[in-house]
């Protein structure tokens, strides 16, 4: 595939991520913070988000497996996940977190377990999509091109 085609593919892919609600305006803000002095900023922040989220998802799984669930603790973890997903523009993950917090408030175990499944799913979707996007970007850079923003 030639450079122009790759760049076109990237633009289309990014647009679809916004249209499908995987990413929102906040992701655009992050990209605007990237420049020649900080060329890897977006990848760095997103990687941090991945690490943080994986840790939180594990904590959530453990917390919900307890005999007596500590809803305050569950809520604290979801709050963190909601915060970081919102900060990077991972809109669909953020939305599930909002519903998740409501179930925590109601101390509804079934609702929480369902939300955990949903948030894991949305997280893995956005992770895959962002990784594909970064791969495309890398292909373009390796071919000597620049990233269309």
């Amino acid at each position: 595939m030639d450079l122009v085609q790759l760049q076109r593919q990237l633009v289309d892919y990014k647009t679809s991520l916004y249209n499908e609600g995987f990413l929102d305006e906040q992701f655009t803000q992050l990209q605007e913070l990237q420049d020649e002095n900080n060329p890897d900023f977006v990848v760095e922040v997103v990687s941090l988000f991945f690490e943080d989220s994986e840790r939180l998802l594990n904590e959530l799984t453990k917390a919900l497996e307890q005999q007596s669930v500590d809803f305050k603790r569950v809520d604290a973890h979801v709050h963190q996940l909601k915060g970081s997903s919102s900060s990077i523009g991972a809109q669909r993950v953020q939305k599930v977190c909002i519903a998740f917090r409501n179930y925590c408030e109601e101390q509804n175990i079934e609702g929480c377990v369902k939300c955990l499944q949903q948030v894991r799913h949305e997280y893995s979707l956005v992770k895959t999509k962002l990784e594909s996007m970064f791969q495309l970007q890398q292909q373009i850079l390796s071919a000597g091109g620049s990233i269309p923003m």
């Binding site: 906040q26 913070l33 922040v45 941090l48 943080d52 909601k82 900060s87 990077i88």
Partner: protein, 132 residues
Amino acid sequence: MAAQGRHGGRKSNKMTALVVDDNMVNQTIHHRLLDNLGIENEAVSNGKEAVDIHCSGKTFDLILMDMDMPVMNGIEATRKLREMGIRSMIAGVSTRSMEREVQEFMEAGLDDYQVKPLTVSKLISIIHKING
């Protein structure tokens, strides 16, 4: 913007800021936002660390204070800093948007409040308040 008399002894004219947030992703983003505007900054992870850093003698032109944090939250930390006589600009940055919650945070001693996520334009509007 020249350094004010209360920071006498500081050689640089650069503005300084303290990011207080328990979330690493937010800390990284806020750090970059501030860097981008030429503002020297550091980050701590909760209200107690924010108070401790001031007890050690450091002061900042601007403090970006998250609300929900472990150990000591943003409301308590803001109150404590004001009690200590800290006159820096403190901007609450939180996801809370209910009037009552924001009110309580403001009453603790904030100069400004912005809903997360923080953006370049929100940060600029905070900074204008310092100069204004």
